[in-house]
């Protein structure tokens, strides 16, 4: 038969598949490899969605999403970050940030256009760029600098074909939160080279001892920025598949075209749930954030004691320690830890080559489980420490 799509063939299969299959079969396996909250969606949100379904909210919505939801998101963003988006023309409700990423790329890129992003990075970025015909240009960040975006390397990576910079702060997998000063510098560079900025701020509500800066709020940024946000992490709503994109009207119009013909609209029950989340969810967001923060401090302290050095992450729910003291590569470490101690982590190299020498641990797991996992990791590392 004729060969399948080149663009899709060029993307390697997911790097965690192999470990996933083993971990799923091992009994008594503690997983610190999960990238979603361990909380279920707060009850008031689930209850509001049940009510909506009972009342017959079972239809398509406007392609843009429910106007009332867009209004609430606009008000929420205005209050938190001082950004102004018109719910009529500058916002689109998406099927998760996942869809937002995909349609951003498709709206912006022509074949061969380059998109720069910092590595280690969320696993979808390079594939989304490739599927849209673009060229991913990863720029490494340094563990010793807390994985802050490296502005010098960013400048060096820019070519005549560069179209956009894709950012993710707070970061998956490193937990890094970009400082305001660095983001201001990135905006200057974007203006200087006439680049778009796509910012995946899905972890914006999960920051600790730091402040989240919405890059769209910086002077000169909004007119060239696509802001992607979601409900998956802050409200523990991963399974609802709901998010949003905010951008200048011309860009939203383009994204809308793709969305309209490929997705039609986000599920209405999820949109109703999202309205409830924004309206009454604040105490629950804060309760979960506080709980993550306690686990974060505990896990960072213990990992450093064990010898897996880590810079305290300031956001999301991941730690990304160095495994140098074991002399193992990320995949070796992950595989041996899984078989020997039945603890699942994610090897750092799946997030790009600068993630080699690290593993990602998620603290979206109950405290007793984290304690037990750390105990096992300690035993594992002590046999190998050099």
């Amino acid at each position: 038969m004729k060969p399948l799509s080149q663009a899709v063939t060029s993307v390697p299969p997911s790097g965690i598949r192999r470990f996933f299959d083993v971990a799923a079969q091992l009994e008594d396996c503690i997983s610190l490899g999960v990238g979603e909250p361990d909380f279920v969606t707060p009850w008031h949100i689930r209850e509001a969605a049940i009510w909506a379904i009972e009342k017959g909210f079972t239809t398509y919505t406007s392609n843009y999403g429910l106007f009332t939801l867009r209004q609430r998101i606009a008000a929420h963003l205005k209050a938190r970050y001082g950004v102004d988006y018109s719910p009529e023309s500058e916002m689109l409700i998406t099927v998760g940030v996942s869809e937002g990423l995909d349609i951003s790329m498709r709206a912006l890129l022509n074949p061969g256009d380059e998109v720069i992003f910092f590595e280690p990075s969320y696993v979808s970025y390079a594939p989304c760029v490739l599927f849209a015909g673009g060229k991913p240009v990863p720029v490494p960040t340094d563990y010793r600098l807390g994985f802050q975006p490296d502005v010098q390397r960013l400048r060096e990576a820019i070519t005549a074909r560069t179209k956009a910079i894709l950012l993710c702060y707070p970061n998956n997998p490193t937990g890094a939160v970009a400082t305001r000063a660095v983001l201001e510098e990135i905006v200057r560079i974007a203006i200087e080279h006439d680049l778009y900025v796509i910012t995946d701020e899905i972890y914006d509500r999960l920051v600790y001892d730091a402040e989240h800066t919405c890059i769209a709020s910086l002077p000169g940024a909004a007119e060239r920025t696509i802001l992607l946000g979601g409900f998956s992490k802050s409200y523990a709503m991963t399974g609802w598949r709901i998010g949003y994109a905010c951008a200048p009207a011309q860009i939203i119009e383009m994204m809308m075209k793709v969305h309209q013909y490929t997705m039609l609209c986000a599920p209405i029950a999820a949109q109703k749930a999202a309205e409830e989340a924004l309206e009454h969810g604040e105490p629950e967001v804060e309760r979960m954030r506080r709980e993550y923060d306690r686990r974060r401090r505990l896990i960072v302290e213990r990992l450093n004691e064990i010898g897996l050095e880590c810079v305290p992450p300031q956001g999301a729910f991941y730690v990304f320690p160095s495994i140098r003291c074991t002399g193992l590569r990320s995949e070796e470490f992950t595989e041996q830890l899984l078989w020997e101690e039945r603890v699942a982590v994610v090897p750092g190299n799946v997030f790009g080559s600068s993630g080699e020498g690290h593993v990602r641990l998620s603290y979206a797991t109950s405290l007793p489980k984290i304690e037990e996992a750390l105990h096992r990791i300690e035993r594992f590392v002590s046999k190998r420490r050099r």
Binding site: S14, I16, F19, F20, A23, A24, C29, S31, G33, V34, G35, E36, D38, V40, Y122, V123, S124, N172, R290, R294, R295, R297, L298, E301, R302, A344, V346, V350, L367, E371
Partner: protein
């Protein structure tokens, strides 16, 4: 310790009294001595009253009967309802006593091994008390949630074991 951290410390212990001072210290980013000192202060001030374990006796196989008893009391000059409440709560069978608004004055929760035992307690001890005018007893048929604890099977973790 700052009041904000004191509150967090209390919340952590309220959730799990077995959390060690070392763990509390790293969770709050303070040193262990501070945690120990604060716990002592809270204990002597009576803020921390004691450390208990939540036990599902049903699951252990021991039956316990609970009843809510609403009590109508004629108040007395100077003491109001306090003296009657005190006479009631001194009985070890009494689980809780509240002064409440509405049709009745006191709401008493009584426990016993059998319904007969609880009924006898009401008839022989509670009802005859001075100034107790009437009692209305409701037996608990099933306990769903108590003190924030849900007494159902815990929901399994439905997440995939690994996700990016």
């Amino acid at each position: 310790m700052e009041p904000e951290k004191q509150k967090a410390l209390l919340e952590i212990l309220e959730q799990d009294a077995r959390t060690t001072p070392e763990q509390v210290a790293s969770m709050l980013g303070v040193d262990i001595e501070q945690v120990q000192r604060t716990i002592q202060q809270m204990e002597s001030a009576g803020v921390i009253r004691r450390y208990k374990t939540v036990i599902d006796w049903d699951r252990f196989g021991e039956e316990r009967v609970f009843a809510f008893i609403d009590v109508k009391v004629s108040p007395a000059r100077e003491v109001g309802f306090d003296d009657v409440a005190e006479r009631i709560y001194r009985f070890p069978q009494v689980h809780a006593v509240y002064l409440v608004s509405g049709d009745h004055d006191l709401r008493v929760i009584v426990s016993g091994r059998t319904m007969k035992e609880v009924a006898a307690f009401v008839a022989e001890r509670l009802a005859p008390l001075d100034r107790v005018q009437a009692t209305y007893t409701q037996f608990v048929l099933k306990r769903y949630k108590e003190d924030g604890e849900v007494y159902a099977e815990t929901e399994p973790d439905r997440r995939l074991v690994m996700a990016p």
